[in-house]
């Protein structure tokens, strides 16, 4: 497994594994990292991160953050990271509905709009991670 992956959140070091490929949710669409990738720093949007270990795929719901790749190591800095299998579907659905309702309640001119939008994106990422896994 030639690619070293570290996912770090402010709350803890979420993951440190070796893998063969990482697909991350970049702000301009999904971006894949293979060993020997050119050095790159990219911003990440809330979404699903896929870790390939041979044929085994693991899905994570990540929040906004950054990825830095340098030769054969990928570092993901993100506000939060949850493995798909640890997400409670009912709770995720409820959070999504709640965020959607709140977003519609405040107009785009509201100062909290950006914050609400961010919450909605995070909730959607969790649901997406669950959907991919199943």
């Amino acid at each position: 497994m030639p690619l070293k992956l570290a996912i770090v959140t402010p709350e803890h070091e979420a993951l440190q594994v070796e893998c063969t490929e990482v697909v991350a949710p970049g702000v301009r669409g999904e971006i894949g990292f293979l060993p020997g990738h050119v050095p790159l720093i990219t911003a990440l949007a809330p979404g699903v991160l896929t870790v390939f270990q041979g044929n085994k795929k693991t899905y994570y719901a990540v929040s906004t953050g950054y990825a830095e790749i340098e030769r054969d190591s990928v570092t993901i800095l993100t506000d939060s990271c949850e493995e798909a299998s640890k997400i409670d579907q009912e709770r995720a659905k409820k959070a999504f509905a709640e965020a959607e309702g709140k977003l519609q309640a405040v107009g785009p001119d509201d100062p909290t709009y950006a914050e609400m939008f961010r919450r909605l994106a995070r909730a959607r990422a969790r649901l997406d991670a669950l959907a991919r896994r199943n």
Binding site: T9, P10, H12, V27, I41, A43, Y66
Partner: protein
């Protein structure tokens, strides 16, 4: 003179109090362990963040970026961080006293000095004193999440960018050890780099030294001096970049990445202060409860002796009565 019954009642009350304080001490100790753990776990993120920032920031941006701009401080905000509850010794009162000194000393030569609060104790204190609070962040301690730090950071950053504020300082208790806290004032904006995240913090003693206020560091209550503004950014030099042998690609663009990274960096600073203050709180609570348990034990001992004396005195009186009664019957 207290009756035996009163004394027994008090004995029981003291004993119960001691049980409570002992239990609270144990709870604080276990929460402290968790809080310390959280500080340690937040460190890798901060360090990596610093690394990435080092790759992104260039010298030109250090001078021009709106969140790094050093302006003469005219409009300043002081964010005061306390806990929600008491029973933690001088944890909150020292912070609040310092905040008041800071306000008294700096208000005269500032155009505007706003006060914001995190934690119920600070909010209630300033409300009582009739000092207007710009903003009070609620429910931070109930659910200590990084999200909260992000919210606070975004709010402050927006107001700093708009020119509404020239500088933001945060006053909080830094965790030193389980038995001691250090009140610290940190410059949040303009953004400063995290160097070594434990050592770097501007201690009050050092602050006094910076402003040439030598005798201040000796007094029991050291006055808070506004830190001199500084921007200690060390962008990568050309030779360092050469040593690397390559430059990073950026997506979407270097500018946009930086744009997003800096507020994040600010959030980290706030997050760290939250964690430190949280750990310091449990440390303070632990020692306060330890002292209370010891006092209760002492009081219990004293009351026991007193109760025994009263009991014995009454037995003696009774005996005397019986003896003298028997004597008089004899005659």
């Amino acid at each position: 003179m207290a009756t035996l019954r009163d004394l027994r009642k008090r004995l029981k009350a003291v004993n119960n109090t001691q049980k409570i304080t002992k239990a609270m001490k144990m709870i604080a100790a276990s929460k402290l362990r968790r809080a310390q753990q959280a500080i340690l776990q937040a460190r890798p993120y901060a360090l990596r963040m610093q690394e990435v920032l080092g790759h992104v920031v260039s010298r030109a941006e250090v001078e021009s970026h709106p969140l790094l701009a050093v302006r003469p401080p005219r409009k300043v905000q002081l964010v005061v961080m306390t806990s929600n509850r008491g029973l933690c010794g001088g944890f909150n009162s020292t912070i609040l006293r310092s905040a008041e000194r800071f306000i008294a000393e700096n208000r005269p030569h500032l155009e505007e000095l706003q006060v914001s609060t995190i934690g119920r104790k600070a909010r209630d204190h300033f409300r009582r004193k009739g000092i207007s609070i710009q903003q009070s962040w609620e429910n931070v301690w109930e659910q200590l999440e990084f999200e909260r730090a992000v919210e606070i950071a975004n709010d402050l950053a927006a107001r700093f960018k708009s020119g509404e504020l020239d500088a933001v300082y945060l006053l909080y208790n830094e965790f030193k050890s389980a038995i001691s806290q250090n009140q610290t004032i940190m410059q949040l904006l303009p953004i400063q780099p995290i160097e070594d995240w434990m050592e770097r913090q501007a201690k009050i003693g050092e602050l006094a030294a910076i402003s040439g206020n030598a005798e201040a560091s000796q007094g029991a209550v050291r006055p808070l001096v506004m830190p001199t503004q500084k921007s200690g950014w060390q962008p990568q030099t050309a030779s360092e970049q050469e040593a690397y042998g390559y430059e990073h690609l950026f997506e979407p663009s270097r500018q946009e990445v930086l744009e997003a990274l800096l507020p994040q960096h600010l959030a980290i600073q706030i997050w760290r202060a939250l964690l430190e203050s949280n750990a310091a709180l449990y440390g303070a609570q632990m020692s306060a409860m330890d002292a209370a348990s010891r006092n209760a034990k002492e009081l219990f001992g004293k009351l026991t002796i007193k109760a025994n004396r009263v009991r014995q005195a009454s037995i003696t009186t009774e005996l005397m009565e019986i003896v003298s009664g028997a004597e008089s019957l004899k005659g």
